[in-house]
């Protein structure tokens, strides 16, 4: 019969004690910050890819389609290893550490964030394209008839409307993103899972430690689900809609999806 080490478990679950460990403290911070940056960059890449895919210029379309095809058709874990180890060995880019005062952003964190962002962009591209295409073509025509060019009409007329369609799946993407950052463990970027792995290497208590790790991810995704529910309720109100998804339903649907 396995002897569950409750003392160790509580030490690493209870934030007050767990966060005294710099590995976990920095790991948690890295997971949150990397998720946010990768998601924001992913939206930017996705926007360009979506516009590229809808472009009337075949060159842009092929570029966007190739990007989406490759990054959705291959595993993120492989993409990440390729970017970090692969680029490193070619010396095309070595991912040197970057220092901002007392904060050091390791090469592994940079590469991991970039890989997450590029991969996410390929998924966001489809979400953003679907959002844009859900808008009545009459909107673009009205904008053009008023003398707006494509870029201005997109920015002022189409994207603000598409945002309402894009934001709910974007929220789910971010939920996945926080979980998917754990893949960065393979390149030893110091995020949350890496931190627990390091501790496990010292004390060898994988059962206790990985339950604790999973609970931290659960905490993050649950907090996000609550934020997301508020954002979407706000969106619905401004649109004049009355339908609102219950908090509980949002929580379940938001956290039950797997990563890519």
């Amino acid at each position: 019969m396995y002897h569950f080490d409750w003392a160790l478990f509580w030490t690493y679950v209870w934030p007050v004690t767990a966060l005294q460990n710099p590995l976990i403290r920095n790991g948690l911070l890295a997971t949150v910050v990397v998720s946010i940056i990768a998601q924001v960059l992913g939206v930017v890449f996705g926007l360009f890819a979506a516009l590229g895919k809808m472009s009337k210029f075949p060159g842009f379309r092929w570029l966007a389609e190739g990007y989406i095809w490759y990054f959705r058709g291959t595993p993120l874990l492989v993409q990440m290893a390729l970017l970090f180890f692969g680029l490193g060995v070619t010396h095309i880019y070595d991912f040197p550490d970057i220092k901002f005062g007392i904060v050091t952003i390791t090469g592994a964190i940079q590469a991991g964030t970039l890989a997450l962002a590029i991969n996410e962009g390929a998924y966001m591209a489809e979400i953003i394209r679907a959002g844009i295409e859900s808008i009545d073509p009459g909107q673009m025509e009205a904008a053009k008839s008023l003398g707006m060019g494509y870029a201005l009409a997109m920015r002022r007329i189409i994207l603000p409307q598409a945002a309402k369609v894009i934001i709910p799946p974007l929220g789910n993407e971010f939920n996945n993103m926080m979980k998917t950052t754990s893949l960065m463990e393979i390149i030893s970027a110091g995020e949350l899972f890496f931190a627990f792995n390091q501790i496990n290497a010292r004390v060898f208590k994988p059962f206790e430690l990985f339950i604790a790790a999973s609970l931290y991810y659960l905490l993050l995704t649950t907090i996000w689900s609550l934020i997301q529910a508020r954002i979407e309720a706000g969106l619905g109100e401004r649109k004049g809609d009355t339908e609102k998804q219950g908090m509980f339903a949002r929580l379940l649907s938001g956290t039950s999806k797997g990563g890519h």
Binding site: A142, A143, S145, L146, G147, G149
Partner: protein, 263 residues
């Protein structure tokens, strides 16, 4: 024919379409359409569904490309320049500049749903014409008053009736101070009791600016139109004053059409 690049000598001609042809695949949607519209003239276009009326309007502000012929608005060829007898499409900036001078009112209003009535009207003056926001707001309020909707300035389109939405859409087009207004069946998506309020606004505008109106509203044509143009199968079949056309149509196809819309 005169030099295509030079502005047309007669500056009172606002729209000049010459032998315009347009195909959708094999469908010959516009078949050698020629039409001249003078300053402050009100032209009503009517014709059966699918006869190419909307397509013609959309060619006038280059929402559709044409396959051959020329369309001049204010003396400038719209959407194209001509080199060695070939039409070459203009760049986007030029096309947008030309469109800014042409107002368009759509059958389904196409108001921007994320903006209030006032913001809908201010949007293009501020972001296309780069007019100061305060000035644009003042102008927009005046326009809303002109279409009788000053009380609705902060309402969103989905809080307005169809007739109110269309009046805001007219104000939105007028805010760009266009020299030409195109109306594509502006009342055909409206409940009958709202048609009058929109037509009243259009009658007010008549003869203060050049208007091309696709509409089957005979009352409006009789009250406001200088000329009625009847289209069928992508061709202009007959045109004349409203009196001539409605009381004494010359062509068989016109008679047939009139007998259908009268019953």
């Amino acid at each position: 024919m005169t030099d295509k690049f030079a502005p047309k000598p007669d500056s009172s001609v606002i729209v000049q379409a010459e032998k315009v042809n347009k195909f959708f695949g094999k469908l010959h949607v516009l078949n050698n359409i020629s039409l001249e519209v003078r300053q402050n003239e009100v032209v009503v276009i009517l014709g059966p569904s699918g006869s190419g009326k909307s397509t013609f309007l959309r060619c006038i502000n280059h929402l559709e490309k044409i396959n051959s012929g020329h369309i001049y608005v204010n003396g400038h060829m719209i959407g194209y320049s001509e080199r060695n007898g070939k039409l070459i499409e203009d760049n986007e900036a030029n096309i947008s500049r030309q469109r800014a001078e042409i107002g368009m009112v759509f059958q389904r209003f196409n108001l921007f749903p994320h903006l209030t009535a006032l913001e809908n009207i201010m949007e293009a003056p501020v972001h296309v014409r780069k007019i100061a926001t305060a000035q644009a707001r003042e102008d927009a309020e005046r326009l809303l008053a002109r279409v009788g909707l000053e009380a609705k300035r902060n309402q969103y389109p989905n809080q307005l009736s169809g007739g109110q939405q269309q009046r805001v859409a007219i104000a939105r087009a007028l805010a760009m101070k266009p020299t030409l207004m195109l109306f594509d069946e502006p009342t055909s998506a409206l409940d009958p009791e709202m048609i009058g309020e929109v037509l009243d606004v259009m009658k007010e505008l008549a003869h203060q600016m050049t208007m091309i109106v696709v509409s089957h509203e005979m009352g409006f044509a009789k009250a406001a139109a200088d000329r009625v143009v009847f289209m069928d199968y992508g061709q202009i079949v007959e045109q004349g004053t409203p009196d001539e056309f409605f009381s004494n149509p010359k062509e068989e196809r016109s008679r047939l059409f009139l007998s259908q819309i009268l019953h």
